[in-house]
């Protein structure tokens, strides 16, 4: 006992080699790393497999396309992850994104400037999230029920506002956010037509990276983030420890609504049309991304980096299967199997 005491008095020396680094980690950190690598590993396997089966897959242009396609799952997945961490669930994000997008479209159509219309759209999304939070914390309904209701309400409002018809002819400026990109380089070819050197990084991809970093920072470095994990881990203990449980939940649902709003305006901007039918079943993609990334539906466990990997697993699967000419029906089957498989592996690892 005395020898242990002396050896344990100071923290272990910092690692010098990768192996020592591994030795110095606690069981939890190790598990976390294994989890990350398991998901990352499957991502790499997917990329290699698709690169071998399809010539067009492994190119910068396609990388940007996949990233762009993944943005909506990623945005929604980040928001849903925050809610799931508190032990809740948000089924409304697909409908909320439709409502946010159509509100933005209608306002721009009515003559509002694009930034104001889009800002209002994001605000509507955030408001939906706040209403979700109020129903969960004040009316004390189960999050599943509360957000299921909001899923129907938001979709209904979007359809009612537009008469179920797409709102088009929104002008070029409306499409800028979804279709523009940084560092796009064109060159006039010998035949006089533009030739693309670098496809550019689409605005939504940049925004996705920024959002992921911000939310990850909030979860890891701020006390509200710590409280989100604590509430999901043991709500009663958090309350007794003086954590503002309701405030924490409100923050989570509002974040999810806000990100659904962002997704809405980006998707509608990509189409340059406000579609009230957009985003059906997207909430399930978002939840799948979170779950593949190691988020526990019981709350208290999960990371943003994991969810991003999960979003890319789904995005790359879709893209790669498309490139290989696999029908969308088969794609659904495969993605379903992947969800069950990854969560089962996670389960096995945790059971011990």
């Amino acid at each position: 006992m005395t020898s242990e005491r002396t050896t344990e008095q100071s923290p272990p020396p910092r690692a010098r080699s990768p192996f020592l680094f591994w030795m110095n980690m606690t069981g939890d950190e190790r598990k976390d790393l294994v989890q990350k690598f398991a998901a990352l590993f499957s991502l790499v396997v997917l990329i290699i497999a698709f690169s071998l089966t399809s010539n067009a897959f492994f190119s910068l242009g396609n990388a940007m396309t996949v990233s762009l396609q993944t943005t909506s799952i990623a945005f929604l997945g980040i928001g849903v992850t925050v809610v799931i961490l508190t032990g809740g669930i948000d089924l409304s994000v697909g409908s909320v994104l439709a409502l946010s997008g159509t509100v933005a479209g209608l306002l721009v159509k009515a003559g509002w400037p694009v930034y104001a219309g889009m800002g209002a759209g994001v605000l509507v999304g955030t408001l939906c999230g706040i209403i979700n939070g109020l129903v969960v914390t004040r009316l004390k309904l189960a999050p599943f029920i509360a957000t299921l209701g909001m899923m129907m309400i938001a979709r209904g409002v979007a359809l009612q506002l537009t008469g179920a018809a797409p709102v088009s002819q929104l002008g070029e400026a409306f499409g800028e956010l979804g279709n523009g990109s940084f560092f796009r380089m064109l060159e006039k070819g010998a035949n006089g037509l533009p030739h693309m050197i670098f496809p550019g990084v689409p605005y939504p991809v940049v925004l996705m990276v920024i959002m992921a970093i911000i939310v990850a920072f909030v979860l890891r470095r701020l006390s509200i983030g710590r409280h989100i994990y604590a509430v999901g881990s043991n709500e009663e203990a958090s309350r007794l420890a003086g954590v503002n449980v309701n405030g924490t939940k409100m923050f989570a649902y509002a974040t999810s609504g806000f990100l659904a709003g962002i997704t809405g305006i980006i998707l509608m901007s990509r189409l340059v049309t406000a579609q009230p039918n957009e985003g059906v079943m997207y909430e399930l993609d978002a939840i799948a991304a979170a779950v593949i990334g190691g988020t526990s539906l019981m709350g208290g466990v999960g990371t943003i980096s994991g969810t991003m990997i999960g979003a890319f697993v789904i995005g790359i699967l879709r893209n790669g299967l498309n490139m290989n000419g696999v029908s969308s029906f088969i794609q659904q089957i495969i993605i379903g199997c992947v969800i069950i498989g990854t969560v089962y592996v996670d389960h096995l690892r945790n059971r011990r």
């Binding site: 006992m1 242990e4 005491r5 344990e8 923290p11 606690t26 069981g27 939890d28 950190e29 890891r220 470095r221 701020l222 006390s223 983030g225 710590r226 409280h227 994990y229 604590a230 999901g232 881990s233 043991n234 009663e236 203990a237 958090s238 309350r239 007794l240 420890a241 003086g242 954590v243 208290g300 466990v301």
Partner: protein
């Protein structure tokens, strides 16, 4: 000891759940450096009374005074501001978080920029836990992977780290082995020397007789007895718990033995 003014005065506290009177007109004092055992069988209202004092449960009537000042005890944060810390029977730990995160939950240390100061919290936690149990390792592990004793140590460390004036312990030794139980007894002694008032809820008659200065017995929401520990023996206490009254022809034990 009684020359001092009480650190806690609970006067005529009432708590009802619908028609059930969980706590009925109970008054209770606690002096600095005093250990008061609160006894009674399950459902007697002792846990309710303590939850009211720790702000975890509202009350329907009566008043609470802390060091002579009447206070409104409507949330655990209020209780904390009054210097009341509670060790719950369930320990109230967030299982997926590590020891520092649990110790500082709800009052995290922050850097100048408002971010979590994990390094400082870890350092402080290490100190706090080592002072209770020199063998405490792996403090950055999630507490769900720790032993019952370790978890208990974290819950205790959380209560005493923040310079409490009043500590409520709800069955602190229920999950512990003999050596750890001795550690808790030692800790109670240390806290008593520092002038901290302690409410100890326990079913263990030996613990109570050994550690407490005074005992309070509750039955059906009422206080049925309050005695200096020397005045009663175990049979008397049992009689109070079960019958709600002292045995017939009872006289204070410490007087008859002299």
């Amino acid at each position: 000891m009684n020359a001092q003014s009480p650190v806690v005065e609970m006067n005529n506290i009432i708590k009802r759940f619908g028609g059930i009177h969980a706590v009925e007109d109970v008054s209770l004092n606690l002096y600095p450096g005093e250990v008061v055992g609160v006894l009674g069988h399950n459902g007697a209202g002792k846990s309710c009374l303590m939850k009211i004092l720790s702000g975890a449960m509202g009350y329907d009537g009566g008043e609470i005074k802390i060091q002579g000042d009447a206070v409104e005890m409507s949330s655990p944060i209020d209780a904390r501001h009054c210097g009341i810390e509670t060790i719950y029977q369930t320990l109230a730990l967030a299982d997926h978080l590590n020891a520092p995160a649990n110790l500082f939950l709800g009052r995290e240390l922050k850097t100048r920029f408002g971010m979590l100061d994990d390094r400082k919290m870890e350092e402080e936690t290490r100190k706090a836990l080592r002072s209770l149990n020199p063998n405490f390792k792996n403090i950055t592990e999630a507490v769900m992977n720790m032993s019952g004793g370790q978890r208990q140590v974290i819950a205790i460390a959380r209560a005493i780290y923040f310079n409490a004036r009043i500590v409520i312990m709800d069955e602190p030794t229920a999950a512990l082995g003999p050596s750890e139980t001795a550690m808790v007894a030692e800790l109670i002694e240390k806290l008593r020397e520092r002038g901290i008032g302690i409410f100890l809820i326990s079913h263990d008659m030996d613990d109570v007789c050994e550690l407490c200065d005074r005992i309070v017995v509750m039955k059906n929401g009422r206080k049925v007895g309050e005695h200096q520990v020397g005045e009663v023996n175990k049979d008397d206490i049992l009689s109070l718990i079960i019958k709600g009254e002292l045995p017939d022809n009872w006289v204070p034990r410490n007087r008859t033995t002299v």
